[in-house]
């Protein structure tokens, strides 16, 4: 028997937590994995220090200035620059079955019981750097939908049950400004993708569609949806009564 509210009140939810007494096996295993990783990193830094220091020179001179270099060596470049660029349109569409389909989950999800969905939001709610995968985490545009595994599936095998004859249309093309330099329209439906900022800004954004002017919050002031894949119907003026 479980009590959800108790679990949510636990301050140790999310990625970096230690196992809480209320949490079950997944959290225990996951938590201990994280502890081991964290412990490994910390000991790495401190063990390096005596080796670097010359004989007779105590560690910590120059206000412990070695720390800067050690930290620099330890920290992946991506985490320092905020752009690793590994997430791009190719990898984006590789996870999808057609333009607009819910992407599959490209990392392993423990097949343990407690792969519950609040854990998805621990990373995908706000994003940020993930040391395990040395990459920035994409942010979901629809965090209000809590039942993540309703639509998103990890892949547990590369084989198929039966070969498929599935085909779909090409992804929308980018940069379709109507005039040279004019703001491009939005080439996808806004359904479940209403939140431009989630996908188009920040270090986890897909490289090609990441905007450099995110400080201007009113995106749709300049960009309007043009669902490029739908045929345009011709507008007909109708001033008849009743219309």
């Amino acid at each position: 028997m479980m009590n959800r509210k108790n679990r949510i009140r636990s301050p140790q939810r999310g990625l970096s937590h230690a196992p809480s007494p209320a949490a079950g096996s997944f959290k225990k295993i996951f938590g201990s994995v994280m502890l081991v990783l964290t412990a490994g990193c910390i000991s790495g830094i401190f063990m390096a220090l005596p080796a670097l220091a010359a004989p007779d020179i105590p560690p910590g001179f120059d206000s412990g200035g070695e720390k800067i270099f050690n930290r620099f060596t330890e920290t992946p470049l991506a985490a320092m620059t905020g752009t690793d660029g590994t997430r791009n349109l190719n990898s984006f569409y590789e996870l999808r079955q057609y333009p607009g389909s819910p992407p599959r989950i490209p990392h392993s999800v423990p097949f343990f019981f407690r792969d519950d969905t609040a854990d998805c939001l621990a990373c995908h709610g706000k994003g940020g750097y993930d040391a395990r995968q040395n990459t920035y985490i994409p942010v979901t545009p629809h965090p209000e939908n809590e039942n993540c595994l309703q639509c998103h599936m990890p892949r547990r095998t590369d084989t198929l049950f039966v070969e498929t004859d599935w085909q779909s249309i090409s992804p929308p093309k980018l940069g379709r400004s109507q005039l040279g330099g004019s703001p491009p329209p939005i080439p996808h439906s806004l359904q479940l993708r209403e939140d431009c900022i989630a996908c188009h800004t920040g270090p986890g954004a897909v490289a090609e569609i990441r905007v450099e002017h995110a400080s201007r919050g009113n995106c749709r002031q300049c960009h309007v949806p043009m669902v490029a894949t739908e045929p345009l119907s011709t507008f007909q003026r109708n001033n008849e009564p009743g219309h």
Partner: protein, 772 residues
């Protein structure tokens, strides 16, 4: 492979951004799908109900040329408001498995040989005539499905019941919905839920009774989670025999021992009465009390028969009956603490709280399925929490048209499109609409599903036509029924879209049009009829199940009853079928309205849908001047039933010491014949497994992924153990998803059923485990 990567890359290169991407990140393949050659890149979107479960989500199917290429949730559909589940989003991929059946096949000298479909249809018609001549009309049978479209089921009923004169039209919905139907009929005298999905947003408390909605009705479950998040004071209680994804999300998860939900429901009623939480005026004005037979058996023997004998009792007698169900006594039976029973009762009893109960297979696939349906209605009736927004005992369905085709069209062996075969007026109405002599319609019901397959085994049935279902996976105690179907002088016709274990026993295989390859209608759990057009053409000689039946009917000489042209038959059939329901309790929307909307709820009266039945504020069929009118019963009163706790047909003992429970997973729908051909779904859930409690696994000496042999008195299956996986059974229970034809778990299950509904119990039988 139709992919033309060269031309695609050329197109891509035309876009400077894409070209930049390709040069920046070489070596990574483009999109995860093959791209249509020569497509305009344009998509048109057409509405349809989802192909899979009974929720009835509206989808918009994206079409390019003559292919379905994308899906999005239909924002105009009130069921799902634009959100689907992973099966819905990838549903169109189920059309494109490489092994689609596109040609008819006939068994010749033991081997299946492709023939023109006309030849196969000739053979079917000849076999029907020949079999009836040799063995009588009840030796031929049609076994259909809750995935039949409404026209499919309607023409099957018309041909078999109206024209051939046998009631042998049965459907797999017997395996999923029969207890829900008999529950409604015995408590209310009329089938299908009084409420609608809007109850979710109105309810303060939602209780899932043996119902893992997070996986089985995920879109509705998302609505529940969203409501809880928005309103803050909403409570979700998971009441189940096994800990699941629903338990994780619920505010509280309460586990009970198999079959003891009967005792707990009675204990909740006991507490409601003891605490004076009874809505006295509601109970006095709108309910009567009854009891029926007890010790009613389990139906495991051939020719089992049971008829209940209802007797009136008083409220006082009902109270006396409940004395056996104090929370303290029931704690001993059920394993649910008296405290939790009192807590559940307090939620139902609190006059300030609106309470909705949801259930599906946990209560229906139950040797006392009718009873447990009755008992949950009792709780809602005693508290008057029914037929108002948010107060709803809600029986969900598992198939897209279990309600539409099986329950409403009446494709069961005792039913007609309106009423039952035993009722003379109902027979007369059917004969009139069908344009057949009333003497054609046999007043005697024939076999329910389990008995129908027993009759095939015994030889009472010699010809069976199976459409849109896979009984050679889904029948309990499967080995007997597969051997029966394979006997020499049995003739089995199977209409399907992919090869399955059922097509393996067929003498004729007909290629069927699937879902949006034909026009049709489904009916979902909340009385909503959902029309879809033919959106893409069927492959090869594939033909809709409706049209297959029409072709055979005409070959049998019934051209007068099946006069429609291929261009307009669906609309014509709908308008004829609608005549059966021409009254305010059942009225269906006209064809033109169905075509326009993403589903229309019945009763559809004066151009308006009925959202809550039996409540005159919403339901025009109610008597004016009443505050509730349960018009299914002659006196307008719903029945509260004294139904006792009785144990399962087969419980664990010293030799077979585990419960076996079976069910589904979110990725796969039923036997997986469609979903396993969807790449993302198969890749997420490639094979079935057996869930074992971690401590039991330790005792057995198996770790995650090691093989375990599950043995019952009927058969055995060896499969991988899943420990702390998707779900966790309590000690002494194992759970197996049934989608995987490589592990036929129904060779292990027992064909015991509810004696009233005749629905088998797939959730309870005794097994033992061996490390394999």
């Amino acid at each position: 492979m139709k992919i033309n990567r060269r031309s695609f890359i050329k197109t891509a290169a035309a876009s400077s951004a894409m070209a930049a991407a390709a040069s920046l990140f070489p070596g990574i393949s483009f999109a995860g799908w093959d791209q249509l050659e020569g497509a305009s890149g344009m998509i048109t979107w057409q509405k349809a109900p989802c192909r899979f479960c009974g929720t009835g989500c509206g989808v918009l199917v994206g079409v390019s040329g003559d292919r379905a290429v994308a899906v999005k949730g239909d924002p105009n559909c009130s069921v799902n408001k634009g959100l689907c589940c992973v099966k819905g989003y990838h549903s169109v991929q189920a059309l494109y498995g490489k092994d689609r059946i596109t040609k008819a096949k006939v068994r010749k000298n033991g081997a299946m040989v492709e023939v023109p479909i006309k030849e196969a249809l000739d053979l079917i018609a000849a076999k029907i005539s020949e079999t009836i001549k040799a063995h009588g009309k009840d030796s031929v049978a049609m076994y259909g499905s809750g995935q039949w479209t409404i026209p499919d089921g309607y023409v099957a009923s018309k041909l078999f019941k109206g024209c051939l004169g046998t009631n042998n039209v049965e459907a797999n919905a017997r395996l999923c919905m029969a207890s829900a139907v008999t529950g409604f009929m015995t408590s209310f005298g009329i089938d299908e839920p009084m409420g609608c999905y809007e109850d979710i947003e109105h309810a303060d408390v939602m209780v899932t009774w043996g119902n893992n909605m997070a996986e089985m009705h995920p879109v509705l479950f998302s609505r529940m989670l969203a409501s809880r998040k928005r309103k803050k004071n909403v409570t979700i209680i998971d009441f189940a025999t096994r800990t699941t994804r629903t338990s994780q999300a619920a505010d509280k998860s309460i586990l009970f021992k198999p079959n003891t939900d009967l005792a707990v429901a009675n204990a909740i009623c006991y507490e409601i009465i003891r605490n004076d939480w009874v809505n006295e005026s509601f109970v006095n004005d709108h309910t009567t009390f009854h009891k029926g037979k007890t010790n009613i058996g389990y139906g495991t023997e051939d020719h089992f028969a049971f008829t209940d004998k209802p007797e009136d009792i008083s409220f006082e007698e009902y109270k006396t009956f409940l004395k056996d169900y104090t929370p303290e006594k029931v704690e001993k039976i059920s394993g649910v603490s008296a405290k939790d029973i009192k807590y559940l009762a307090s939620l139902y009893g609190d006059p300030a709280k609106k309470v909705t109960s949801f259930w599906c297979m946990g209560m229906n696939q139950h040797v006392r399925g009718t009873w447990i349906n009755n008992l949950v209605y009792n709780i809602h009736l005693l508290t008057g929490k029914i037929s108002t927004p948010g107060n709803s005992p809600f029986s969900l369905t598992g198939q897209p048209s279990a309600c539409g085709t099986v329950r409403e069209v009446g494709t069961l062996t005792h039913k007609l499109p309106h009423g039952v075969v035993t009722n003379e007026q109902d027979r007369q109405l059917a004969a009139k609409i069908w344009d057949v002599p009333v003497t054609n319609i046999d007043p005697k019901p024939t076999y329910h599903t389990v008995e129908m397959f027993r009759a095939l085994d015994r030889g009472d049935i010699r010809f069976m036509w199976i459409q849109v279902t896979n009984p050679m996976i889904t029948m309990p105690n499967l080995t007997r029924y597969r051997n029966g179907a394979l006997k020499d002088d049995r003739f089995v016709v199977v209409s399907d879209v992919y090869p399955t274990p059922t097509t393996e026993v067929a003498d004729v295989i007909l290629p069927a049009a699937m879902w949006i390859e034909q026009e049709g209608m489904f009916g979902n759990s909340e009385r909503r009829t959902q029309h879809f057009d033919q959106i893409v053409p069927p492959p090869g000689e594939a033909m809709s199940d409706t049209w297959q039946i029409i072709e055979v009917a005409r070959r049998l000489g019934f051209t007068k009853q099946f006069p429609w042209s291929e261009e307009e038959y669906i609309g014509k059939i709908w308008e004829e079928y609608r005549l059966f329901h021409d009254n305010p309790k059942h009225n269906m929307a006209p064809y033109t309205v169905l075509k326009e909307r993403a589903g229309v709820q019945w009763p559809f009266v004066n151009g308006k849908e009925t959202r809550w039945r039996f409540n005159p504020k919403y339901d025009p069929a109610c008597k004016p001047g009443t505050d509730f009118d349960f018009y299914g019963k002659k006196d307008g009163k719903a029945w509260i039933w004294a139904r006792p706790y009785e144990p399962a047909a087969e419980s664990p003992d010293a030799e077979y010491n585990f419960w076996l429970n079976t069910g589904r997973v979110i990725e796969h729908w039923h036997t997986g014949s469609m979903t396993r051909r969807v790449p993302i779904l198969h890749q997420a859930m490639p094979e079935s497994y057996v869930e074992i409690n971690p401590e039991d696994a330790m005792d057995l000496g198996v770790v995650n992924g090691e093989k375990v042999k599950i043995i019952s008195r009927r058969g055995s299956v060896t499969m991988k153990a899943s420990i702390n996986g998707r779900g966790v059974p309590p000690r002494g229970m194992v759970f197996v998803p049934f989608f995987d034809e490589s592990y036929k778990i129904n060779e292990v299950t027992l064909d015991a059923f509810c004696p009233i509904s005749k629905q088998p119990d797939y959730k309870k039988c005794a097994v033992r485990l061996e490390k394999a």
